[in-house]
């Protein structure tokens, strides 16, 4: 896969070197089975994923619950162990690095979590929440540390006087701003945003999305933006990868996915998303999928979507489709594409 260059005010981005490159990545979790719990089966949360993210790019990762998108996000910044495959960051293999190397890597990558209530330590002041990564990496002390914390609070639209308060005194949107300030503390180049706005009310959601957009332009950040809401993902992403049951089934830019998806899953996902336009909603064609997502323990043979696919044929059970090109930066894994 090739990464899409960006030509807006961030300047044209080099096509040659992705900041993050993932090949055939697998993350499986063991589950006990059988009456005595001695059997071993695996939840194949991520089951052979290839991914490139260009410098300064936002790659959106979209899919429904249990598709493996959060596990993939955690795996690429080494928060969860992988079974096989490789992860390269700025050209060097980080799949198995540890110790000092992993510590240095942590300065380059940060994460923003979904639940701003659960991801902040309630006993730390906001200043300490934001200052902790600075302390761990011995970046600043005393006055310089405090100045940096104040600066970060300003950057995310809070004020220095908030530093002495506790997370419980803030609303959901403000807490997400605190989480973002903490993620920015080490001046990372890559930020994994895992459902950063899903827990927020609509009016607050927009504030946080706009903030993330602004920060990306100011600090030339690269985002892996994980969310279940395709409208949000499309708004913020340069390119989108659609995941289903541990695999990426299609990638393209948002407009292409919306107008001409080739994978039947992408197409039904697009058609299932309500658009706040009553006249359009009343005339839109809907593909309503049958049934539920299959089990990631025993995924269907061949194409994993075939059990729900309106276009499934007999050979879909036999051939496991791989991503093939459908246009510039447009890939889909389907043997009977739209």
């Amino acid at each position: 896969m090739v990464t899409s260059p960006r030509t807006d005010d961030g300047g044209i981005v080099s096509k040659s070197e992705p900041i993050l490159s993932v090949r055939d990545l697998k993350v499986w979790f063991p589950v006990a089975t059988g009456i005595l719990g001695r059997g071993r089966e695996y939840v194949r949360a991520v089951d052979g994923v290839d991914l490139d993210i260009g410098v300064g790019e936002t790659l959106g990762l979209v899919g429904e619950s249990g598709c493996g998108k959060s596990t993939l996000g955690r795996a690429v910044i080494r928060l969860t162990e992988t079974v096989s495959g490789t992860i390269h960051f700025r050209g060097s293999d980080i799949t198995h690095v540890g110790g000092q190397q992993l510590r240095r890597l942590r300065r380059e990558m940060a994460m923003v979590f979904q639940d701003p209530y659960a991801s902040l330590n309630p006993r730390q002041t906001v200043g300490d929440v934001i200052g902790e990564p600075i302390d761990i990496h011995h970046l600043a002390k005393g006055r310089a540390r405090q100045d940096r914390i104040y600066e970060l609070l300003n950057i995310v639209g809070l004020s220095p006087r908030h530093a002495e308060r506790y997370p419980s005194e803030f609303s959901g949107g403000q807490r997400q701003r605190i989480g973002i300030a903490r993620a920015l503390a080490l001046e990372p180049s890559l930020i994994i945003c895992d459902e950063p706005v899903s827990a927020l009310d609509v009016s607050i959601q927009a504030q946080i999305i706009n903030l993330l957009d602004k920060l990306q332009h100011t600090y030339k950040l690269t985002y892996l933006f994980i969310a279940h809401d395709l409208s949000v993902v499309k708004h913020i992403s340069d390119r989108i990868a659609v995941m289903y049951l541990g695999k990426i089934v299609e990638t393209a830019d948002g407009e292409t996915l919306y107008r001409e998806a080739h994978h039947p899953y992408t197409a039904s996902l697009v058609s299932a998303i309500p658009i706040p336009d009553p006249e359009l909603e009343r005339t839109r064609e809907r593909t309503i999928l049958k049934g539920d997502i299959a089990s990631p323990i025993n995924p269907p043979s061949g194409c994993r979507f075939r059990t729900r696919c309106p276009r499934a044929q007999n050979d879909c059970a036999e051939i496991e489709p791989t991503l093939s090109p459908f246009g510039p930066n447009h890939w889909a894994a389907c043997i009977h594409p739209l």
Partner: protein
């Protein structure tokens, strides 16, 4: 014109809290006509769910301190608990956001779908169960006769919500109240459930109150919409008109806040500044005025009334009531 099925007039529901009495629903009035689908939208704390619960007397620990809820001419606020129980499940059914916690884990799904049929229609166990299987089939549960004997944990989220809908519609109620029925579900499952609700409410002629924070869902489902903010109705009208030309700055802000699938990339969202108010410490005047880009002096002192603007539209805003169009015309 026939009398409306439901008329809510000046409903007020309060809760006690550490910060004093909180008015979660503050003088809410609206009507539901026979067979129509009415959307109630708003963000957390807007009072949309408490409004729905108050209609059927499930507002506890809150208290209804004012107003009337006329259902086919009868004031539900005045009914005893036994009389209310007669109305609930028979004439008015409700489905909730989380189908995991609304089904009892120790009874089979069929038994639970049959329960309101036994209680309200006095059907025998056998015929209630047979009707439950029929309902499960109608809501799209495959092999309904076999699945009726299974327990809720064996059902997926979407299947549980289907079962809840089957339970709600078994007695062919005239009004179905659905409180965020698809919020906990994945979007492809949401599409299945909304499609089912639409089809069944047409088949049964049931009127529906659909409570949601999702304006896209309202756009596809509702004939009319009510927008709530801080316990009050700020705008209402036919869905198409409200979306095309909102008459309250909050509605306009909400519509500008949501990323649309059909929008071009690159445009920043028109976010609403600030945060929703604390209900225990509401600002004077219009509760939205501190966040409102259109506010005038009067907004910080006088609470606007919900006034008719013609064509079935109402808005509680001093600015639009003075004839100013929010889009600058």
């Amino acid at each position: 014109m026939a009398a409306p099925l439901l008329e809510v007039e000046g409903l007020r529901t309060t809760f006690g809290s550490r910060e004093g009495t909180v008015t979660a629903v503050d003088g809410v009035s609206f009507q539901v006509e026979q067979g129509e689908t009415l959307g109630i939208v708003g963000e957390s704390g807007s009072g949309k769910s408490v409004t729905a619960l108050s209609i059927i007397g499930l507002q506890r620990p809150g208290r209804i301190v004012g107003g009337r809820v006329l259902f086919k001419g009868r004031d539900l606020v005045k009914l005893s608990r036994d009389e209310l129980r007669e109305v609930r499940g028979r004439e008015i059914a409700m489905i909730f956001q989380d189908p995991m916690v609304s089904l009892n884990p120790v009874f089979s799904v069929g038994w639970q779908v049959a329960e309101p049929l036994r209680l309200h229609r006095k059907l025998s166990r056998r015929s209630a169960f047979a009707r439950a299987i029929e309902m499960l089939g109608k809501v799209g549960i495959p092999s309904a006769a076999r699945r009726a004997r299974d327990y809720p944990y064996t059902f997926s989220g979407g299947m549980r919500q289907r079962a809840m809908i089957g339970m709600g519609l078994g007695n062919e109620p005239q009004l179905l109240i659905a409180d965020e029925p698809t919020t906990a579900l994945d979007v492809t499952i949401q599409a299945q459930i909304l499609d089912l609700l639409k089809k069944l409410s047409q088949d049964f002629g049931t009127a529906t109150i659909l409570i949601t924070h999702n304006l896209g869902v309202v756009a596809g489902m509702c004939d009319r919409v009510i927008v709530m903010y801080a316990g009050r109705v700020v705008e209402s009208g036919p869905t198409i008109d409200v979306f095309k030309n909102p008459k309250h700055p909050y509605t306009r802000g909400l519509l500008g806040s949501i990323p649309r699938l059909d929008a071009k990339r690159g445009e920043p969202l028109q976010a609403i500044e600030g945060t929703p108010p604390n209900l225990a410490r509401l600002p004077a005047g219009c509760a939205f005025h501190p966040r409102c880009p259109f506010r005038v002096e009067r907004c910080s002192t006088d609470t606007p009334t919900l006034d008719a603007l013609g064509s079935g539209r109402l808005a509680a805003c001093w600015v639009t009531q003075s004839g100013i169009d929010l889009d600058g015309n």
